[in-house]
Symmetry: C2
Amino acid sequence: MPKNPALARLPGFRDFPPEDLAVRSHIFRAWREACRRYGFQEYDGPPLEPLDLYTEKSGEEIVGQLYAFRDRGGRHVALRPEMTPSLARILAERAQALPKPIRWFSIPQLFRYERQQRGRLREHFQWNADIVGEAGVGADAEVVALAVDALRILGLGPQDFRVRVSHRQLVSALLLGSGVAPDKLPVAFGVVDKLERESRQRSLDRLRQECGLGVSEAEAVLQLFESSDLERAAEVHGEDPEVAGALADLRSLRQVLDEMGMGPFVEFDLRIVRGLAYYTGMVFELFDRKGELRAVCGGGRYDRLLELVGGEPLPAVGFGMGDVVLGELLAERNLIPSYRRAVDLFVAAVSEAQRELLHRIVAAQRAAGKSVVYPLRHQPLRRQLATAAAEGAERAVLLGPGEVERGVAKVRDMATGREVEVPLQALLAGKGGDGDGNA
Amino acid sequence: MPKNPALARLPGFRDFPPEDLAVRSHIFRAWREACRRYGFQEYDGPPLEPLDLYTEKSGEEIVGQLYAFRDRGGRHVALRPEMTPSLARILAERAQALPKPIRWFSIPQLFRYERQQRGRLREHFQWNADIVGEAGVGADAEVVALAVDALRILGLGPQDFRVRVSHRQLVSALLLGSGVAPDKLPVAFGVVDKLERESRQRSLDRLRQECGLGVSEAEAVLQLFESSDLERAAEVHGEDPEVAGALADLRSLRQVLDEMGMGPFVEFDLRIVRGLAYYTGMVFELFDRKGELRAVCGGGRYDRLLELVGGEPLPAVGFGMGDVVLGELLAERNLIPSYRRAVDLFVAAVSEAQRELLHRIVAAQRAAGKSVVYPLRHQPLRRQLATAAAEGAERAVLLGPGEVERGVAKVRDMATGREVEVPLQALLAGKGGDGDGNA
């Protein structure tokens, strides 16, 4: 803690000293590598946006947690709590000119003033990936596969996580077909969303009291949503064309993912609702297999969002994956590479007389792409070698008067202690730093 | 523009669609590559900090331009306008435990509510690099060399930019030795800072009226600061130990940079002052050689900053380099790589019958590290090939019924149109995507 507590880091925010930044970079690298393999292009938007961008279409939960204020020009502004409205705004200006489908991703830092609890943060980095301009199941499958592949790149397998897939229109049709009145649908979705956290009895009561169902109707709804496959939905409601259409879509989705080898990761689960109001079709969440953590990732199809910012209607499907829960999952599975400092070369001079030579070799080796450190002021050789070890140098170039006179330097392998002599000419030409005396 | 202007991007903020993000990434990559070669480690801090972190020690200019507000918990907070106070806070907690010197860098986005003019922005990304815990000239030289090398990695040479170096203590001693009273030093620094922008007569007048100098004293000061080398300072004031010490430091700095091959980039120029109040020794700014743009980079030695946040006294030297002016310089020199979309493979199926095979090949090639796109719904082959070209695919895998029956697929080089047959087994094993039929 700084001595002046008024200068302390704000609660819910993180510093990233190098050892923590390395973890963040490890995760970002996997996200970007997955996007590269899937042909997604990176974009970004401003972290500060007009407040209206969020109040017009975000869920109430988000609006109540905004970092909102008036800027010096009197504008109502907010730190971005989610990326999709910015994406919608950016695409509203340019989507018409872009070939479809648009495959874009971003890694914004997002901000929400949540009540402080269990180490919950007020900022996180969230990988957003979206396919815009393609309404079919092929795009749904592609974004689910992308999310899965990023985690595979990080070393996670089907024993570590699963994707739970549902479908907004399917759930709507099933609820309506079970006797829920259209005006009770939002409440019924709320009950479905809480099925895993509330007791069965409480859910039954709510379906009866808040959604107007009879005892047997409420029981039938619960059985439908407790089923881990879609067979029961097909049996009971399969003749409803809405249900049949959505089921066909989900089966196609499953088939594509099976063909891509993603089958072991994917489950259907009609209890997945997603908090945000804007999803219109397939929705999914990605959880650790043990079910101990919050969702690692959530997304789905949202075909109407772009209209809300004045853009042309464009189908879209995508997801957001945060760095915090993912980091917890990786840590639990020992999949975070241990942090160690590393440079290619440490260049040491026995006396001040070799200082000019040292500077010339350092510059030459760096120009050749090596990472090089050296003592910024003269020190005894023993001290320099200790620093070389602390910096994680792979090799040390030792400039001693005897060798320099003969036109060579010792290059020491810091792991084995083995030393070879390398001509100064090679070192000054940016070579020989890997201990190859003939380089 | 979105149809609803209330949703438009805030003035002074940038969107980064892929073609613009590619430029940003190009610059960030060069910054990170230079840091890698110099053994610097990346860190980051929160973009939102306690307001006091800036009001306590930043220049007045910054405080008047803060994005400051009260959060939902009543805290006075601000979007970070500069990185150094966060660095000081982070180091105050942990510098004692770290081996010195500490070589850290960061690429934060910074925010200032500047009056809108000439396309000036209210946010930019600024590369910050600092060496902490080493008071000698060696560290000064190292950060200047780092800044120069990043620009060299981007393709800029001595014909494109120069580093102008000065020294706070030297300028103080010269002004005091020229007859400026200690309490007039800040005003005199202000005159020096404006020498290049104000007329010679105006500067003379100010030195006389605001700094209390006589005619000949004022003239002598101007001649001192108009000189492009340090010879005149040495001649006239060389016996002042403060002057002699600072001159010796600057000569050592120059020598190290010469030995590193940076000589052609470096000039001494006592008119470089730096706006911020906290510099204590060497200061520098990096400008385009034509002098048409604002400073690309500025920095220097600031040995007292860490004390201000309650840390141990630690010498420090560093700089900040923004992405905006640098981007203008690169654009002017045609050093921004032209943007083009590119993927390794496009996989096309002649009919729906090859769809399963297509999905399996796509997954296998991606697992092998290739970037692969394919039509998310079935399309005529001609349309698919047009998409492959638009995506910048290097090769296209064509799955036709005849070839598939024979266990092969055509792989077309999209640039030459040349086609080879590759066994499906190879493609399904993640090989053969580079058109090597025997892979």
